[in-house]
Symmetry: C2
């Protein structure tokens, strides 16, 4: 059986048909997340119908629909409890009612990073691990944790997923969550344009010619030995490493899973992150291993499929 997985990201909505840990078909539509969730649903529905048609399938051939968002989720009620800076109208929306009305299928709803962790442990780069943290560099920075085979959820579903909102600099920037100096406010994709534009030599940098400054543009500028890009990347690496150390100190994992679009540049970034974390983390038992999602675009889709299967057993 096939599952439908929908990853409502900050920049794109990724939709996949997943079969036993393998993404059989996938499509991506823009998120326009600042305009809300509900205005995007008709395009999501069209995209799913098209994927099914292209694959010669009907909704009734599917086990269920897995839905991930970058917010705090109530998995039992299948609703979003809180989300920051995007899809504001998703709070309280009944995904179950929607899935049932449009596709006659049950829905499973989960935080995106937690889905990605399950995807990588169930089917991906961290298969079979029991003590792991995941950090997914998307528009924001999502995290999730597993201790002794159990996903860390906490009393109100918040534990493990707010690693991007641990304070990494008390004198830092205001975050969209309301807090100050969150790792996400200091080093995420959404925070990057402001970080770059505030650099005193910004106008001397090739980055000043970019229309949209993103991780990719910084890494490209780096190849051209752009001093501003070098300094910005140094600062980002400082925050990413501190953020990973914080997850290690908080959850005591054996493996750190890295995912999200940024990991397309893992060849450049990973060795530097690993060196810094190994040098600074307090892990007297040994060294945490690092794995990168085999396909950083599909971690969430795989995890949703895992959850849909689990909901049917």
């Amino acid at each position: 059986m096939v599952d439908i997985s929908i990853d409502f990201g900050g920049t794109n909505i990724k939709i996949g048909l997943v079969h036993f840990g393998c993404v059989k078909a996938k499509t991506i539509i823009p998120a326009f997340a600042d305009k809300g969730l509900i205005p995007r649903l008709s395009d999501v529905e069209k995209a799913i119908h098209q994927l099914l048609i292209d694959s010669g399938l009907m909704p009734c051939d599917c086990t269920g629909i897995g839905i991930a968002l970058p917010g705090i989720i109530d998995p039992a009620a299948k609703t979003v409890l809180s989300i920051n800076g995007k899809y504001a109208d998703a709070v309280g929306f009944s995904f179950q009612e929607w899935a049932n009305r449009i596709f006659s299928l049950d829905a499973v709803v989960e935080n995106d990073a937690r889905s990605a962790l399950l995807g990588e442990i169930g089917y991906g780069a961290a298969r079979g691990e029991s003590n792991a943290v995941l950090i997914i560099f998307g528009t924001g920075i999502g995290t999730a944790a597993m201790i002794n085979g159990q996903i860390v959820r906490g009393r109100h579903g918040q534990a493990g997923i707010l690693g991007g909102h641990l304070v990494a600099n008390v004198h830092g920037n205001r975050c969209t969550c309301g807090n100050v100096g969150c790792m996400e406010a200091q080093s995420s994709h959404w925070a990057l344009p402001q970080l770059v534009k505030r650099h005193p030599q910004f106008l001397d940098s090739s980055l000043s010619n970019e229309i949209g400054i993103d991780y990719r543009s910084v890494i490209e500028a780096l190849k051209a030995v752009d001093q501003v890009a070098l300094e910005i990347l140094e600062e980002l690496l400082l925050y990413w490493s501190a953020g990973i150390i914080n997850l290690i100190h908080a959850y005591d994992p054996e493996v750190v899973i890295l995912s999200g679009g940024l990991m397309k540049s893992a060849d450049v970034l990973l060795p530097q992150i690993v060196d810094r974390v190994h040098a600074l983390a307090w892990t007297p038992w040994g060294k945490v291993r690092f794995v990168v999602a085999e396909d950083p675009d599909t971690s969430v889709l795989l995890g949703l499929s895992y959850l849909v299967q689990l909901s049917k057993t």
Copy 2:
């Protein structure tokens, strides 16, 4: 039955006879922790014998000995796995063999903050709570967490207890643990003298006349409206609040328990900490409650007694 509890702190060793959540007798001897554990054991033994004599008890009247240290503990082996900047020779020391040889009693060994959390939940200010974090301001800053009634331990016993070593400023000071910018390196009792002496107006402050600068001296100077003390306290409050927010974001508790010597000034500090945390923490379900240990000196002793009792059931 009475238990013997020993809290090997960074500044003092606190020893108590505890009976059903009540410290019946207590004594304090200096730690000299930088000189190691083993050189202090004969004084600890003498102090315990004296406490027992004063209480009209013999070792055989006791259930067991609970021992807490500010390090990473293997509770099954009853040994210290790692400890930073104090009691260096405690690593690998067999507390069980010692307790058995000297007192013919079994030992229980636990991290000090985890013991304090159990003490406050079992017998103290947070009785009956199931989702809590504790932060104990001693010489260093210890933390512990409980999720859904289970103490957070992690794969190697490190989870929950390294909250003082979450990075709160990536551009901060080197910590004794080897990491940079830990909350403990920025705002603990041991870090304080350096923080104060680095202040540009230090020599104009009444603090420059103090022989040993500690939390108490900053709070005293504050009462005399000392500008340096005001600024230092503002900075400390920033870090303490961020550290508590990080624990809330990491473990999703309903209650934050504050303990340790600093809480003798809870009347001055607590309202400011609570206001900052409530303003900045992302807790859409409601507001975390704060409780202060009824007797901040005895949280650890009570928790050790709880663990000794548990070990005998």
